[in-house]
C-alpha cells in the first residue's frame, strides 16, 4: 500500500496542506499551512532520527545495492508499464532518501516552515500558502526520486507554483516594458524549460541506450553507457561517446538551475522580483536541485562523461566564482547583490565537482583522496549556501517590508535604529563571506584546499574571490547599516518577533554547521563514497 511509506507522506503532507490551505477560511489557512509544513519537517526529522538511532549514525547510499536497508529509506512500487510495439516502457514510483538527499529534504522542510512564518501577512494569503506548500512537495519529489522519469516529473512539477509565486506576488518594477514579476516569472520558466527539454532527451537516451527497460537510477548505475563507443550526431556528423552526449544533455538542465555562467541571468531577475520568502526557497533549495542532480545523477550515471567535460567545467566554475563576485561589487540593489553572490557561491560547488570528476578513475590514491574531500566540500556548500543565502534574503526582506526599497545608497547607519536586525544581517554577511566558525567557511575551505591538488591554477585564481566576497558584502553592510545615519529612516522599527524567528533559527544552524560540521558530514559521506568508489584512506599523518 502506497500510503504505508513515510516517504509518500513527505510528498502528501505538503500537497494536502496546500489544498486545505486553499479551501479553508483565511484565518485558518495560515495555521493549516504552518501545521502541515511543520508536520513535514517533523516527519523528515523523524526519518533522520530513526536511521541515526537504528544504525548508530551510519547513513547509507540509496544507489548502493549492498547498502544496509536500515541505513536508508526507500519505497519502490510499479507505476506505469506498457508495451508499444517493440518498445517497453516502465516508470516506477521509486523514492528514496540517504545521506545525500536527507539533509536537503530537511533543509527544504525547514525553509518552507520559515517561509510560511515569514509570509504570514501576505496579501491573498490562502493562495500564497497553498502554492508554497505545493512547491515544497515538488522539490521534495526531486530530492527523493530515484527513477529518472519520476525525477523529471517532479523537476517540472516544481515549476508551476514557482512561476505563479513570482508572477503574482512579485515586484511591479517595470522591466522590458512589463511588470518585473511577469518578466522574471517567464524568464525563470523558459530557462528551466529550455534545460528540461535537454534533460528529457538525455534521460530517454539513457533509458533506450542502456536497454534495461527501466529508468531506475541504481539499476542504470550498474549498466553505465559506453564511454568510448558512441553515437554520431545527425546533421553534424560528429561522433562522441554516448555517455558524454547523455551527460551534456542532462547537464544543461542542471547548469540552468545551479546556475552556471552563461545560463545564469534568470537568477538575478527572479530573485529581485520574487517576494522575500520565495527568494529564500529559490536560493535555499531550488538552486540545490541543480547541484544535487549534478552530484547524484551526473556523477553517478556519467562518470566518464563528467570526467571528459571536467576541464571545461572547471573553467566555467572559476568564471562563475569570480565573475559573479565582480558583478556583486557594483550592484545597487541589495537583493540583486545577494543573487549574484549566489552565482559566485554556487561556482564553488562546480569547482568541487570538477575536482571530484578527475578522481573517478584515477590510479593515484592522492588524487582520489583530494577529489573525495573536494566533493564533500561541495556537498556541504549546498547546505551552507542554502542556510546563509536564505538568511540574507530574509534580512533584506525585513528592511524591504518597511522601507519598500532595497536600494543600497539611500540607506545609511540604519543599525542605529534596528540593532537586532543589523546584528543578524551582519552575521549573515559575515557567514556569506566565509567567516570561520560559520557554515560557509567549512565548505569553501574544504573545496579550495582539496581541489588545489587537482586543479592548481584554476583554484589559485578562484581563491581571489575571498577578497571580492568580503569587499562586496561588507561594503553593502557599511552603506546600509553603518556610517552617518540618514535621518529619513528615523522611524524604522526593529525586526519583530515573527520576523526574528526565521533569522535566529537559520543563524543557529549556521553556527552549528560551522563549529561542528561533523554531524552533517558524517551523514553525507557514505553516499559520496559510493559515488567515488575508489578506496579513500586516511589523508595525511
Amino acid at each position: 500500500m502506497i500510503f504505508a511509506y513515510d516517504l509518500t507522506w513527505i510528498l502528501l503532507l505538503p500537497t494536502l496542506g496546500g489544498v486545505l490551505a486553499m479551501v479553508a477560511p483565511v484565518r485558518l489557512s495560515r495555521w493549516l499551512a504552518l501545521a502541515f509544513s511543520a508536520a513535514t519537517l517533523v516527519l523528515s526529522l523523524w526519518i533522520f532520527l530513526r536511521i541515526a538511532v537504528a544504525t548508530g549514525y551510519h547513513f547509507g547510499s540509496v544507489t548502493d545495492p549492498k547498502a544496509d536497508p536500515a541505513s536508508i529509506d526507500v519505497v519502490q512500487l510499479p507505476w506505469i508499464q506498457f508495451q508499444l510495439g517493440s518498445v517497453a516502457f516502465r516508470i516506477d514510483y521509486y523514492l528514496g532518501v540517504d545521506g545525500l538527499s536527507l539533509p536537503l529534504v530537511i533543509l527544504n522542510a525547514l525553509l518552507t516552515v520559515l517561509a510560511v512564518i515569514g509570509g504570514w501577512e501576505k496579501p491573498r494569503v490562502k493562495e500564497y500558502m497553498a502554492l508554497l506548500l505545493l512547491l515544497e512537495a515538488g522539490v521534495m519529489g526531486v530530492f527523493m526520486a530515484l527513477d529518472l522519469l519520476l525525477f523529471f516529473l517532479f523537476w517540472e512539477v516544481e515549476l508551476a507554483p514557482m512561476f505563479l509565486l513570482i508572477g503574482i506576488w512579485g515586484s511591479e518594477t517595470e522591466k522590458h516594458g512589463m511588470p518585473g514579476r511577469i518578466y522574471s516569472a517567464w524568464k525563470f520558466l523558459l530557462y528551466t524549460f529550455f534545460g528540461s527539454i535537454f534533460m528529457l532527451a538525455g534521460i530517454l537516451l539513457v533509458y533506450f541506450q542502456a536497454g534495461q527497460n527501466t529508468a531506475s537510477l541504481p539499476v542504470l548505475m550498474q549498466h553505465l553507457l559506453p564511454a568510448s563507443t558512441g553515437v554520431t550526431l545527425p546533421l553534424l556528423g560528429v561522433t562522441m561517446g554516448s555517455q558524454l552526449l547523455a551527460f551534456l544533455l542532462v547537464f544543461v538542465a542542471f547548469a540552468v538551475k545551479i546556475p552556471m555562467f552563461p545560463l545564469h541571468t534568470w537568477l538575478p531577475d527572479a530573485h529581485t522580483d520574487a517576494p522575500t520568502e520565495v527568494s529564500v526557497i529559490l536560493a535555499g533549495v531550488l538552486l540545490k536541485m541543480g547541484a544535487y542532480g549534478l552530484i547524484r545523477i551526473c556523477l553517478g550515471l556519467f562518470p566518464d562523461g563528467l570526467q571528459q567535460f571536467a576541464p571545461l567545467l572547471v573553467v566555467l566554475a572559476v568564471i562563475n566564482i569570480l565573475y559573479g563576485a565582480a558583478i556583486c561589487l557594483v550592484q545597487k540593489d541589495m537583493k540583486r547583490l545577494v543573487a549574484y553572490s549566489s552565482v559566485s557561491h554556487m561556482g564553488v560547488i562546480l569547482l568541487g565537482v570538477a575536482a571530484a570528476a578527475m578522481a573517478i578513475h584515477t590510479s593515484n590514491p592522492d588524487v582520489a583522496r583530494f577529489g573525495t574531500a573536494a566533493l564533500m566540500g561541495a556537498t556541504v556548500q549546498m547546505i551552507s549556501h542554502g542556510l546563509i543565502t536564505s538568511l540574507l534574503f530574509f534580512c533584506v526582506g525585513v528592511i524591504y517590508d518597511r522601507a519598500h526599497t532595497r536600494e543600497i545608497e539611500i540607506f545609511g547607519g540604519v543599525a542605529k535604529r534596528m540593532p537586532l536586525w543589523a546584528t543578524l544581517f551582519t552575521f549573515a554577511g559575515l557567514a556569506s563571506l566565509g567567516l570561520p566558525g560559520l557554515a560557509g567557511f567549512v565548505a569553501e575551505y574544504m573545496v579550495f584546499t582539496s581541489s588545489y591538488r587537482i586543479w592548481p591554477v584554476p583554484t589559485a585564481i578562484a581563491v581571489f574571490t575571498m577578497i571580492l566576497t568580503a569587499a562586496y558584502l561588507l561594503w553593502m553592510l557599511k552603506r546600509v547599516l553603518f556610517g552617518p545615519f540618514n535621518l529619513r529612516w528615523n522611524w524604522l522599527p526593529d525586526a519583530s518577533w515573527r520576523e526574528a524567528i526565521p533569522l535566529v533559527t537559520l543563524a543557529a544552524f549556521i553556527v552549528l554547521v560551522g563549529v561542528y560540521p561533523g554531524f552533517l558530514l558524517d551523514v553525507i559521506v557514505p553516499a559520496l563514497h559510493h559515488l567515488l568508489p575508489v578506496a579513500t584512506t586516511a589523508l595525511g599523518r
Binding site: M376, A415, P484, W491, G518, G540
Partner: protein, 750 residues
C-alpha cells in the same frame, strides 16, 4: 602528569564564555531595560535637556512630519543611545541630512546590566590572565611539583570535522607549548589591562556592553591563533581576529568621516581593514594550499617533522615550490601585521576606540603575523634562503618606510600607528635574519617587550584624548592643539615618557634589549644594508616619539627646559584620568622597564638557542652606536620642539622648497593611500562595471535578443491572421488543391 597544563583550554574558553554571556545575557538585558524600563523616559528627558537639536527634532515629529507616529516613542529610546555632548565641524554636519548625535553616542549613566557586562569580561579575563601566568611560571620550572612542558608541547584538545578518514587533516586542534604560552601571557595580560582601563575610558559610551563583548571575542580569537596546532585553526583564528578588529574599529557605527583631518569614518576604516587583511589572507591560504596539496596535512608538527608528510621529505627536490609556499604564507603576515604593501589599513584603524588600538592594533593582533612566522619557523628554515630574505627585507623596508612617515604626522594616534608598523617591521627583520641557531626568539622577544610599551603608549594617548575630550567637549587628536599636558596629567606623562624611552631603545629599559639584539643580529648575519636601515630607523623612532612627547606633554618654556609642561594650546582645563585608567598605565610601565630582563627568552622558546648574552651586548661598540643614534634623535627632537618651537619649525619647512616637498610627501604617506584609492575606484570597480555591463548587455542581451527575435517573428506571422474568413478559406482550399496535386503526381509517378 601535565595536569595543570591540560586545563589550559580554560584560558581559551574564558573569553568565549564571557562573549556568550554578554551577547545573549547581559547585553540583551541592557538593551531591554533601556527600551522598556524606567530609563527610557529618563533618557528622552536627558536628551531634551542636553541637546536642543534633539528637542527641536522631536517637536517636528510631534507635529506630524511623518506618518509613522507610532514609532515616535521608540525614537526616544534608541538602542545605541543618541545624545552626544558636543561635536566638531558644525559646517560639515550641515551638508548631511543625518541627525546630530551620530559621532560618539554617550549615555547619562550606565545601566547595571551594562556594568555587569564589563565585570563579567574582566573577571573571566582576570582568571585567564592569572592562569596563564601560573602556567608560565610552571613552564619555567618555578612551580614545585609541576614539570616543564615537553619540547613539542601538548595537545589540549582536538576534534575532526567528520569521522571519515578523508577529514583527518581537517582537524580543529589546540596545542600548548612554550611559544604559545609566552604569547598567551602577553595577550591575556594586555587584554586584562585594556578591559580594566576601558571601564574608565568607555564609562559614558552607549555601547558599553557591546564593547566588552567584542573585546572578549577578540581575546578568544587571538588565543585561537596562539593555541593553533595546525594551519586550519590558525586560519580560523586569523579570520576571527580580523572580524573582531572589524567590529571594534567600526565600534562607533554612525560616526562621520573628518575630511579636514584626513580621517575616514570608522565604518570605512573597518571595511578597509578587513578587505586589506583578506588580500593578505589569499596569499596565506594559497600557501596553505600548496603545503597541503604536497604534504596532505595542515599540522605544524607533522609538517616540520621528518616523516613522509613533513615538508623536508614531501618537497624533496622541489625546494623552490616550498619557498614560494612560505612566501605566500608570509603574505598573510604582511596583511595582518600591516607590512609594506598592505599597511594602509592600520593608520585608518585608529578610528576605533583607543583601548582597541592599544590591544589590537598595537600589542597583540598585529603581532599575530610575527607569531605565525615564529610558529612556522621550521618550515621557513626548510625553504630556500629567499623565504627568510623576503621576511627580513619586507620588515626592513616597512620599518624605515613607516618611521619616515611618522616624522611628520600631527595626529597623536597616527604617530603611534606608524610607530607600530615600523616596530613590526623590526620584528620581521629579527625573524628573517636570526637563522636556525637562534630561532624565532629575537623577533618574538621584541614582540614581547613591544606589546607592553606600545600598549602603554596607546593607553597613555587614550588618557590624553579622554582628558581633552572632557576639556574641549569635542574629539581632539591633533597634537598641535595639545602641549604642556605634563602639568595637568603627571601620571600619564611619566608613564608615557618611560614607554617612549623604552621604544627608543634607551639603555636598560626593555626596548633596549630587544631592539639592540635585533640590530646586532642583522650585523652578525652580514646583512649590512638591513643593519644600516634598522640603525637609521632607531634614530628616526627616537625622534618622532619624542617629537610627539614634546608636542603633547612638553613645549617651549616648560619646566626642565621644556620637557615637563609648557604652554597649553587647547581650550579648557584637562584633568588627570581616573584611577581605572591610570592603574593599567602604571602596571604597564613596570613591564616596559623590566620585561627585557628575561634573558632566557630565546632558550625558553627554543631549547637549542643560546641565552641572551648581556655581557656581549654591553661590551659591543655597535650597540652603543645604536644607542647614540637614538639619543641623537631625542636630542634633535628636543632642539626642534622644546628649544625652537614647532611653529617656527613649520615656517622653516614651508619656506624651503626641498623640505616642503619631503614634508608633503611624508605627510601624505607617500601617496600610497591615494594610489590604492585610485586603483580601487578606477581599476577594480571599473572592471566590475565592465563585467556587469557584459552580463547585462551580452549574456542577458543574447537571451533577450533571442526572445525579442521570436517575438518579432511571431508578430510578423500574426499578420497572416487577417481575421477575414475568406482568406482562411482560400488558404484551406488552396491547401487541399496542393495536397491533391501532390497526391496525384505521386500516384502517377508510382
Amino acid at each position: 602528569m601535565y595536569g595543570l597544563y591540560e586545563y589550559a583550554w580554560l584560558i581559551l574558553a574564558a573569553p568565549l564564555a564571557s562573549f556568550v554571556v554578554i551577547v545573549f545575557g547581559t547585553r540583551m538585558a541592557d538593551l531591554w531595560s533601556r527600551h522598556h524600563g524606567q530609563t527610557a523616559q529618563d533618557y528622552a528627558a536627558y536628551l531634551r535637556e542636553a541637546d536642543p537639536a534633539f528637542a527641536a527634532w522631536e517637536a517636528t515629529r510631534g507635529a506630524g512630519g511623518h506618518a509613522e507616529q507610532q514609532h515616535a516613542a521608540q525614537a526616544a529610546g534608541p538602542a545605541e543611545g543618541t545624545a552626544h555632548v558636543g561635536h566638531g565641524g558644525e559646517a560639515e554636519h550641515q551638508e548631511h541630512h543625518g541627525d546630530p548625535y551620530d559621532d560618539d553616542p554617550t549615555v547619562p549613566y550606565l545601566t547595571p546590566w551594562a556594568k555587569l557586562s564589563g565585570y563579567v569580561g574582566i573577571v573571566l579575563m582576570l582568571f585567564a590572565c592569572l592562569y596563564s601566568w601560573l602556567l608560565l611560571f610552571a613552564s619555567l620550572g618555578l612551580l614545585p611539583g609541576t614539570p616543564r612542558l615537553p619540547e613539542g608541547g601538548i595537545t589540549l584538545f582536538s576534534y575532526t570535522w567528520g569521522s571519515d578518514a578523508a577529514f583527518q587533516p581537517y582537524t580543529i586542534a589546540f596545542h600548548l607549548d612554550n611559544l604559545a604560552l609566552a604569547m598567551t601571557v602577553v595577550v591575556t595580560t594586555v587584554s586584562l589591562l585594556v578591559q580594566f582601563y576601558s571601564q574608565g575610558y568607555m564609562a559614558s559610551s552607549a555601547g558599553y556592553a557591546r564593547f566588552f563583548a567584542y573585546l572578549s571575542l577578540f581575546a578568544f580569537s587571538m588565543l585561537t591563533i596562539v593555541f593553533a596546532a595546525n594551519f586550519l585553526v590558525i586560519f580560523v583564528g586569523w579570520e576571527l581576529v580580523g572580524l573582531s578588529s572589524y567590529l571594534l574599529i567600526g565600534f562607533w557605527i554612525n560616526k562621520r568621516a573628518k575630511p579636514a583631518e584626513e580621517r575616514p569614518a570608522p565604518a570605512s576604516a573597518a571595511l578597509q581593514a578587513f578587505v586589506m587583511n583578506r588580500i593578505g589572507d589569499v596569499g596565506f591560504i594559497l600557501g596553505i594550499m600548496i603545503l597541503f596539496a604536497t604534504t596532505g596535512t595542515f599540522d605544524f608538527a607533522t609538517l616540520a617533522g621528518s616523516g613522509p608528510h613533513g615538508v623536508a621529505q614531501a618537497f624533496a627536490g622541489n625546494q623552490a615550490l616550498l619557498t614560494l609556499a612560505m612566501i605566500l604564507v608570509f603574505c598573510g603576515a604582511i596583511g595582518k601585521s600591516a607590512q609594506v604593501p598592505l599597511h594602509t589599513w592600520l593608520p585608518s584603524a585608529m578610528e576605533g576606540p583607543t583601548p582597541v588600538s592599544a590591544l589590537i592594533h598595537a600589542a597583540t593582533m598585529v603581532a599575530a603575523g610575527v607569531y605565525m612566522v615564529a610558529r612556522t619557523f621550521a618550515l621557513f628554515s626548510a625553504a630556500g634562503p629567499q623565504a627568510f630574505g623576503v621576511v627580513a627585507w619586507i620588515g626592513g623596508i616597512t620599518a624605515i618606510f613607516a618611521a619616515t612617515i611618522g616624522l611628520t604626522q600631527t595626529d597623536f594616534k597616527r604617530v603611534l600607528a606608524f610607530s607600530t608598523i615600523s616596530q613590526l617591521g623590526y620584528m620581521f627583520v629579527g625573524l628573517g635574519v636570526a637563522g636556525t641557531e637562534i630561532g624565532p626568539g629575537a623577533g618574538m622577544f621584541h614582540l614581547f617587550t613591544h606589546a607592553f610599551f606600545k600598549a602603554l603608549l596607546f593607553l597613555g594617548a587614550g588618557s590624553v584624548l579622554h582628558a581633552l575630550h572632557h576639556a574641549m567637549h569635542r574629539e581632539v587628536q591633533d597634537m598641535r592643539l595639545m602641549g604642556g599636558l605634563a602639568r595637568f596629567m603627571p601620571i600619564t606623562a611619566a608613564t608615557w615618557l618611560i614607554a617612549g624611552l623604552s621604544i627608543s631603545g634607551f639603555p636598560f629599559l626593555s626596548g633596549f634589549y630587544s631592539k639592540e639584539t635585533l640590530i646586532s643580529l642583522a650585523f652578525e648575519h652580514g646583512d649590512y644594508a638591513l643593519w644600516a636601515i634598522t640603525l637609521v630607523t632607531a634614530g628616526l623612532t627616537a625622534f618622532y616619539m619624542f617629537r610627539a612627547f614634546f608636542l603633547a606633554f612638553g613645549g617651549k618654556g616648560g619646566a626642565l627646559g621644556g620637557i615637563w609642561g609648557g604652554p597649553y594650546r587647547g581650550e579648557g582645563t584637562p584633568h588627570e584620568s581616573p584611577v581605572t585608567m591610570t592603574l593599567p598605565l602604571v602596571i604597564l610601565a613596570v613591564f616596559s622597564i623590566f620585561a627585557g630582563y628575561w634573558v632566557g627568552f630565546f632558550q625558553y622558546l627554543d631549547p637549542h638557542a643560546p641565552l641572551l648574552d648581556l655581557g656581549k651586548l654591553f661590551s659591543d661598540g655597535l650597540t652603543w652606536l645604536g644607542v647614540a643614534l637614538s639619543l641623537l634623535g631625542i636630542a634633535w627632537a628636543y632642539v626642534l620642539y622644546c628649544a625652537v618651537g614647532w611653529e617656527r619649525v613649520h615656517k622653516v619647512v614651508e619656506a624651503n622648497a626641498v623640505l616642503r616637498f619631503f614634508h608633503r610627501l611624508l605627510l601624505h604617506r607617500y601617496y600610497v593611500d591615494t594610489l590604492y584609492d585610485w586603483i580601487v575606484r578606477y581599476v577594480v570597480l571599473g572592471l566590475c562595471h565592465v563585467a556587469a555591463a557584459f552580463d547585462r548587455f551580452v549574456v542577458d542581451g543574447v537571451v533577450n535578443g533571442v526572445a525579442s527575435l521570436v517575438m518579432e517573428l511571431g508578430s510578423g506571422l500574426r499578420r497572416a491572421e487577417t481575421g477575414k474568413v475568406q482568406a482562411y478559406m482560400t488558404v484551406f482550399f488552396g491547401g487541399i488543391a496542393v495536397f491533391a496535386v501532390v497526391v496525384f503526381v505521386l500516384a502517377t509517378l508510382r
